[in-house]
Symmetry: D2
Subunit: 104 residues, 4 copies
Amino acid sequence: MISKDNLEKVLTFRSERNWEKFNTPKNIAVSVAIEAAELLEHFQWSENSSPNDKEKQAIAYEIADVAIYLSYLCNDLDIDLNQRVAEKIEINKKKYPVEQCKYS
Amino acid sequence: MISKDNLEKVLTFRSERNWEKFNTPKNIAVSVAIEAAELLEHFQWSENSSPNDKEKQAIAYEIADVAIYLSYLCNDLDIDLNQRVAEKIEINKKKYPVEQCKYS
Amino acid sequence: MISKDNLEKVLTFRSERNWEKFNTPKNIAVSVAIEAAELLEHFQWSENSSPNDKEKQAIAYEIADVAIYLSYLCNDLDIDLNQRVAEKIEINKKKYPVEQCKYS
Amino acid sequence: MISKDNLEKVLTFRSERNWEKFNTPKNIAVSVAIEAAELLEHFQWSENSSPNDKEKQAIAYEIADVAIYLSYLCNDLDIDLNQRVAEKIEINKKKYPVEQCKYS
């Protein structure tokens, strides 16, 4: 998800504040959805134009927020994200065969 | 976000199907929000109980979906997620000082 | 929100199944977000084209799901939605003055 | 959805600012999801405790925002919400029979 170094930092950030008790899997999933909506807000009225540098920085921080919460969830539920992503890619390959799904 | 190896795989998956044209930053942000809600659905009626192994696998695949879309967005907008996460952690440390935010 | 007649029906639907205990304000808010994402899913890859009749029916049912959960929340928290909407419109009028916000 | 009087007001609010062009069905659906997440934010860390009066007012305005966007969507797509809600209730009654779904 995020680097081991960053994971260490966010886990330390949380434990230093005794916030683990608020971070139930349900509350983290709620937080992922909230941060995902804040990310989406940057595109609410845009018509697919590329964001400028200032917008890109704000967008990058929203992505970071989503990634941090996903990292907490993977850590707390003992999920190996990269293993699951690799499995999901194989599932998607079978679900969307190139010959049927290739857009020309 | 995800490993270089997995990033290569999802980018190849997308390009083999010529799906880049659908993956505008706005549409990817929409997809992140949709997948985040599918993740949240697994906790909709649960009262903070820990998920069982079967639920955990389904949850892990939803997290993978969110992570894959975030990876596309970081790739397409040329965002260095781990750099931004590291910056965001420093911002959060200043925003939530331990001495004021520590929950006892 | 929805008609008094429909509100009666959804409250009866819930009480006949003893589901009030699951309908905490938090769980209903989670459900509103989940249903809103299911509504959004119908537009995930569309480029602002108008939905056809079949899509419109599916969209209408997703809107109904969001409306039903909002109605439960207003009922359970004793919120007069139309009064609040009227107040919000006045707030928005001050926040977005026509002379400054009119798009030409 | 909302009263005819309020619907008139929000449609006038929008037309006075020439904002219809931004209100594609897709952008309204995006806005519903964003406002639903702002509603959810009020419950992010709460453990199912009832909101106090100050929180209830803020929650009511978030619900109003969701309802206003749903009303625009129903208006623009010519959807009769109450008819669809009534149909959805009948669908749910068949999907969740009392005898099988009653929680004791």
